[in-house]
Amino acid sequence: MNNQPGIKLTDQELVRKSLHGDRHAFASIIKNTEGLVAQIVFKMIPNPEDRKDLAQEVYLRVFRNLEGFRFQSKLSTWVGQISYNCCLNWLEKKKLSFPDPTPGSDEDPLESLSTREQTPSKWNPETLAFKKQSSEIIKREIEKLPPLYQTLISLFHQEEMSYEEIGKITSLPEGTLKSYLFRARKMLKENLLSNYKKEEL
């Protein structure tokens, strides 16, 4: 029983079909959720080879536990929860200390950030290059945050997940989650300001 292309099945249908041995349905579950898994794994696991093993481990675990999934949350949230727990267990097993983040270059690429951002010109190659540069800086600074902060920032600001969903993934109470997110954003802003010596971004 293959999934016809163009027809989007609901999570319930995908789970039901997967449980009846439909591998295409399980492949669809992977396709629908691997972005979220990548967000979590990339933020928590520094080594690319380990990420590859872990991502597979996540979905094997999803497959093994699919029968017990009762749709108390979205399927993606549940998969995210498994990813987070897999990463946490893996870190605990390896007792990893996180590597120092890549040191920034000596130049001060944020120097003209504020003025250029305030006077947006047409979308020309210069602004594109500038945009890419500032994105790189912020990406680098995010990578310096503790892994949980990185994960929370990505899930909230990039994946635009709700507090409730992130709380389910990380098993953190909403109050703690809000507090961590607050600290993460503050730390990110302060790091950016201190590392790039800007009065304002």
Partner: protein, 148 residues
Amino acid sequence: MINEHVSESDIQLYAWTPDAVAKTAIAHIEQCDHCRNAALSYQFIFGEIKDAPKPSFNFDLGSLVLQQLPLKKSASERSSILIWFWICISLLVVVPLYIFQSDLAVLFKGVSIFVIYSLAAAALIILIFRILEIYRRYQRKMDILNFS
């Protein structure tokens, strides 16, 4: 309008969802250079994060996983395995109970209160150690995440 600077959390909230902030705080942020700049910084950061390319795996995760999946047993096969499992467990419990029922009646006869107390104390100590272990495990996880 309030004269004191608004809190950092209100500035963050304003940068992300301005509607969620009190009107007095909004009025202050709009008038105060310090707070407005802080809010602009956050808005810039949030915008950059949102627009940043999302991470993705550079391998075909789907096919890697699918080739490792076991051949699925049919639902009826699974349920019959489950039934046999529970029958075996039940037999393991019920049969010894039936055979040794006469011994069970006198199992605790003549046992001093001290022995019973010792058993209860041992069970309690084990329980406390288990709870401590769970707590230590939780702490280790927090340490890993740099949140000790």
